[in-house]
């Protein structure tokens, strides 16, 4: 018999489900067993009891409030699964697997870090930033969106003593343009960071890795894909990586979701 590890399946009561902006909601869950999750890890959530939608949906650990036994998920409604999930009301019990995945590899390094979140990709970086703030470690949180109306209000961040730099494509808040533009500006002008942590759409991540290469800063990117099992069993989430001139598939749910940006094969 194999050694019994603590179970990774949890039934967690929803404490609050509040709109943060537009289609984004913040779900706060009573989840004592998940408070040890590392930033960048995720939970795999059952969104309904029926067979349609069938599969679970993955969401990053957005924040942990250990003293309240609370984890937060930041959920953007994009389809049937997220819509159903966002109908859950306080008191409802959600079925979660987690914490899953590897998380950001280097969290408490004293050297400065840049955290770049594109759209909902800011979800895992929020907690990473908060941990660094708590530990008194230097970081800058960069956040990008089409417009500031697509982002949580400033006080959503200020409440945790986080003060992001903004990039909006319409210039409605902060830098006008893509977050990679802001990142480039920052890399060109500010103190060189020890590493960049990024999460967001694939083209953004490709841009971040390119910038990291150009400025010789290591990058860690959190990838997304449809997941089936979420635990490494089905090979459904494979993504191509470069390994010694060859292509190798790695599982986003298991070897990731955070990967060394240099190794990701963005040209698929």
């Amino acid at each position: 018999m194999l050694e019994q590890k603590p179970s990774l399946i949890h039934r967690c009561q929803l404490k609050t489900n509040e709109q943060v902006t537009g289609t984004w909601h913040c779900l706060k869950l009573h989840a004592p067993d998940l408070c040890g999750a590392r930033p960048g890890q995720f939970v795999h959530v059952r969104v309904g009891a029926s067979s349609d939608p069938l599969l679970r949906r993955p969401f990053s650990i957005h924040h942990v409030v250990a003293e309240k036994n609370e984890i937060w998920l930041l959920v953007r409604s994009v389809g049937a699964g997220t819509e159903l999930l966002l109908q859950a009301r306080p008191g409802a019990v959600l079925d979660l697997l987690g914490p899953l995945g590897n998380g950001f590899p280097v969290v408490d390094e004293a050297a400065p870090a840049l955290l770049a979140g594109g759209g909902i990709g800011l979800a895992p970086l929020y907690y990473l930033a908060w941990l660094r703030r708590q530990a008194g470690l230097p970081f800058e949180l960069l956040i990008g969106a089409a417009s500031c109306s697509d982002l949580p209000a400033d006080d959503y961040f200020a409440a945790q003593d986080l003060h992001p730099l903004y990039a909006t494509e319409d210039g409605s808040h902060g830098y006008r343009g893509l977050i990679t533009g802001l990142l480039e500006q920052r890399l060109r002008e500010g103190t060189p960071p020890a590493r960049i942590h990024a999460c967001g759409p694939l083209p953004m991540l490709a841009g971040v890795v390119e910038l990291g290469r150009r400025f010789a800063v290591p990058t860690h990117v959190s990838l997304e894909s449809h997941l089936a099992c979420g635990v490494g069993a089905c090979l459904g989430c494979a993504f191509p990586f470069k390994k010694g001139g060859q292509i190798e598939y790695r599982r986003i749910c298991k070897e990731g979701p955070v990967f060394n940006g240099e190794e990701v094969c963005f040209e698929i």
Partner: protein
């Protein structure tokens, strides 16, 4: 619960604590779900399809959800039989339940080669020969459609492998009972059915198939009524035991397959939804036996047929 005598069986020579089997491709090598359930809660585990040479698999996206189901086009990603023997086989005993290796080849010869490499290997309780994987373009699908080819293939694998031999059928052939009979004639000890059915989803925004491989195999509850029917028809055609699968989520689903004529049942996609499926289904089967005063689940095999 897992060693309750009311659920034990001997499937083609494999002693199983219960009739629940982790379906190939859905449970890795048995280690990925240890954070949820003890692998020994399964009657048996069938590992991922194994080929002679390592296979990188298909580019992403490999999966897409469909109404009450999902398509997968993994493309048989696996490290190959040699790696399996060196790195994985030594760990299998730790799982605490019988393990079958699902094998797939691109030629008849490959099937035979893999089978002989696995012959007599400790920790491998039997083979499941996948003659029907819809995602391997060469071979695969064509093998499974022609009864004569199946008979030839299975006979030769039978010679190469002396342990329990399960042949896994698909419905794509259109004549599953003919293929089943061919496999039985050729010496299969049991039959698994059904494999996934080929389907596709088109991304109408991008005007192209969602899966990089264009098509993928449909699994999950959507498939269940078709799979139950296939078991029902096949049970009439052959006398070897059947392993039924396709969309099983609950004990009631498992009972449908058993009552249609399956001796054991495999659970694939449901594990993704609920990693505790094996435990809950086992408990549900025992509850059914209790409520109906049945001493052993085997009394239910084919029960929906007997009454007519």
């Amino acid at each position: 619960m897992r060693s309750d005598p009311r659920l034990s069986l001997n499937l083609a020579g494999i002693k199983m604590a219960n009739p629940l089997i982790a379906a190939s491709g859905c449970y890795g090598y048995g280690f990925d779900y240890t954070g949820f359930v003890d692998p020994a809660e399964w009657g048996a585990i069938v590992v991922k399809g194994t080929t002679l040479k390592p296979r990188a698999g298909n580019p992403p996206p490999r999966i897409v959800e469909t109404p009450a189901g999902m398509l997968n086009a993994i493309g048989l990603q696996n490290p190959g039989v040699e790696y399996f023997l060196e790195e994985i086989q030594p760990r299998l005993a730790g799982l605490g339940c019988p393990v079958l290796v699902n094998i797939a080849g691109e030629t008849l010869e490959e099937y035979c080669q893999i089978a002989s490499l696995l012959d007599g290997v400790p920790g491998v309780s039997g083979l499941e020969v996948n003659i029907s994987c819809p995602n391997v373009r060469r071979g695969g699908i064509s093998f499974g459609c022609d009864p004569d080819v199946v008979e030839d293939l299975v006979s030769r694998v039978r010679e190469a492998y002396r342990g329990p031999l399960v042949v896994k059928l698909s419905l794509e052939a259109g004549n599953i009972t003919a293929v089943a009979r061919a496999a039985e004639r050729a010496g299969a000890d049991a039959l698994s059915l059904i494999n996934t059915l080929k389907g596709m989803v088109i991304d109408v925004g991008r005007r192209r198939p969602v899966l990089a491989n264009i098509t993928g195999g449909l699994s999950g509850p959507a498939l269940r009524p078709i799979a139950v029917r296939a078991v029902w028809e096949t049970a009439e055609a052959v006398s070897v035991p059947l392993i039924g699968m396709g969309g099983i989520r609950t004990a009631s689903d498992a009972l449908e397959f058993i009552m249609a004529g399956a001796t054991a049942v495999a659970v694939g996609t449901a594990n993704f939804v609920n990693p505790l499926s094996v435990r809950e289904i086992t408990a549900g089967l025992l509850r059914y036996l209790e409520q109906n005063g049945i001493a052993h689940y085997s009394a239910l095999i084919g029960a929906a047929r007997n009454e007519r």
